[in-house]
């Protein structure tokens, strides 16, 4: 397996006092394959492994550090660096808008975020601005009911739904807005998203991204960022087997950190991203 190949190479390095260029090449090849297998964007995977290679060749291990520890530290720092500057949602009053591709987990995440803010002792309101998907408002309403959280919106116009939310739920400290799935090439839906963002004036626009998404993560994240400005990423369905390498591209394209990961279908299945755990799982 890839992880055993990587470990085997690391064991070779462990025995060495300094690392030969051949060994570095071997390590870099293994890392490249691990990254590609983990759905990291092809160009990003090549860039990352090139940077790791040049650092491993040029940087001298600090005194008291073995060659292996030195290389592990370089790999770790490059990978964690690719996750961007970490930032957490403040547990305070704010308006949050969720956007993303179809079926990524936006509506479910809206419910999970509502529960998260509730646990911080804040009042929460959920607004359904997805006026396209059949029973989208019903889905959000059922989640809201599970949490005893008020819900607003629905109807046939997304901007009107957002306005209804602002009016009816304006007294509540945290307002979370769910939107319909859409993608880069759907100009009408992109325009709708811009119009809804303009009305809400959200403090956070979170891109909800499914951990199974492959090479499209980067280009789609870039399009969402260009349209409305993404301030954070939520990576969902990490309870599956997908490594979530697409998140690295989403971060690169939006300059926004992964604030939460989804780990199941229930409303309590939302956790903060743990960079070390995420990276070691990604590398196998």
């Amino acid at each position: 397996s890839l992880s055993s190949a990587l470990r085997a190479t690391m064991r070779k390095i462990a025995g060495a006092s300094h690392i030969s260029p051949e060994l570095v090449k071997e390590l870099v090849r293994d890392i490249q394959r691990a990254l590609l297998q983990a759905d990291v964007n092809v160009k990003l995977a090549l860039d990352l492994s090139k940077r790791i290679e040049s650092r491993a060749l040029e940087e001298k291990a600090p005194a008291g550090m073995t060659a292996r520890e030195h290389v592990v530290r370089i790999v770790h720092s490059e990978m964690v660096g690719a996750l961007g500057v970490p930032r957490e949602l403040k547990p305070g009053a704010q308006k949050i808008m969720l956007v993303g591709l179809y079926g990524q987990g936006k509506t479910t995440t809206a419910g999970k975020l509502a529960k998260w803010f509730q646990s911080k002792g804040l009042s929460v309101g959920l607004t359904g601005a997805d006026v396209h998907r059949p029973a989208a408002f019903e889905q959000l309403s059922q989640l809201a009911a599970q949490l005893n959280v008020p819900v607003a919106g629905g109807g046939s116009d997304a901007v009107a739904a957002a306005k209804a939310g602002l009016t009816e739920l304006g007294e509540l400290e945290v307002q979370i807005f769910d939107t319909a799935g859409r993608h880069a090439l759907d100009t009408d839906l992109i325009d709708e998203m811009k119009a809804v963002a303009k009305v809400i004036q959200p403090d956070e626009i979170l891109l909800v991204l499914d951990a199974t998404v492959g090479q499209q993560a980067g280009p789609q994240a870039a399009a969402f960022h260009e349209a409305v400005g993404v301030t954070g990423v939520v990576l969902t369905k990490l309870d599956g087997s997908a490594k979530g390498g697409g998140a690295l591209s989403a971060v690169a394209e939006t300059q926004a950190p992964v604030m939460f990961v989804g780990t199941g279908e229930m409303l309590d299945a939302l956790e903060r991203l743990e960079p070390d755990r995420f990276i070691s799982r990604l590398l196998g």
Partner: protein
């Protein structure tokens, strides 16, 4: 000139990247590479200049071949037998199962078939309501129980109804499930045991990268996939996921989803997908 392993290495690197960027899973790329090595190393060509084009042509041909090994004729869905044709739709969360059922029901009705929709996703919020809206729009019979009920019982009821009323097709909607969730995978096996579908359709997302292989493999191992429907091809324009799945389980792709409307379901065309990958 003779094609040597080193020629293959050089040309393949670029082609490999093109495949990976089109969402062909790493495992599938490696399998294709191994097959090409078998066929091409030692092959005589007219001149050195012919080597790269020969390799590229052989790669395209092997892609089409992989996608055409097994084929699914949509006409199979229209065949009239003694009793309804029962089809269950399975897959991981959010891939487009419910929407695909609506699209297929629309197509079947357009071909003069009567359709029964079974709301066997009894778990997710709004799942039953979502399918019911489609049933009403399409004018299909809709079978559902209480939310939280036994999915297998809903499927069984729908099949019994279709048999009693001489309906042509039963489409069974099931909940999304992670292939790593043993309880949910067991639930799917139970639905199959109770409802005895004639066909199991795996609904996969074209956006999926390497996990498509894992998904297809596990679902195939648990219930046996008859054919695959690949959705959101309008979003992931290249469609390499089709190759990942074909390579993993060797089952045909019956349809592709290219949008959210009822018309947005197309029969699968191997040459069309390969063109998009190399566009």
């Amino acid at each position: 000139a003779v094609v040597q392993a080193k020629h293959l290495e050089n040309v393949m690197w670029e082609l490999e990247l093109a495949l990976l960027e089109s969402d062909v899973a790493m495992e599938a790329v490696e399998a294709l590479k191994a097959k090409l090595q078998q066929r091409l190393v030692g092959l005589r060509v007219a001149s050195r200049g012919e080597i790269a084009p020969t390799i590229e042509k052989a790669l395209k041909a092997s892609l089409v071949e992989l996608l055409s090994l097994e084929s699914f004729d949509p006409q199979r869905l229209l065949a009239r037998g003694d009793g309804p044709l029962v089809i269950a739709f399975v897959g991981v969360n959010g891939t487009g199962k419910t929407t695909t059922i609506a699209r297929l029901a629309h197509w079947l009705q357009g071909q003069g078939r009567s359709v029964v929709l079974a709301a066997a996703d009894t778990f997710r919020a709004g799942a039953i309501e979502q399918l019911e809206i489609h049933a009403n729009k399409l004018g299909c019979k809709f079978i559902a129980h209480q939310s939280g009920g036994d999915p297998a019982a809903v499927a069984f009821d729908a099949v019994a109804h279709a048999k009693a009323k001489h309906r042509d097709v039963v489409l069974i909607d099931t909940a999304g499930r992670m292939q790593t969730n043993t309880n949910l995978m067991d639930e799917m096996v139970k639905i199959q045991r109770v409802a005895k579908p004639d066909l199991i359709m795996f609904v996969g997302d074209a956006l999926a990268g390497n996990d498509a292989v894992e998904q297809a493999r596990k679902f195939h191992a648990m219930v046996g996939i008859d054919a695959v429907i690949l959705t959101k091809l309008d979003v992931d324009a290249k469609g390499g996921t089709a190759l990942s799945i074909a390579s993993a389980i060797g089952r045909p792709i019956a349809f592709v989803g290219i949008g959210q409307d009822y018309e947005d379901l197309m029969p699968f065309d191997a040459a069309w997908i390969v063109e998009r990958i190399f566009a």
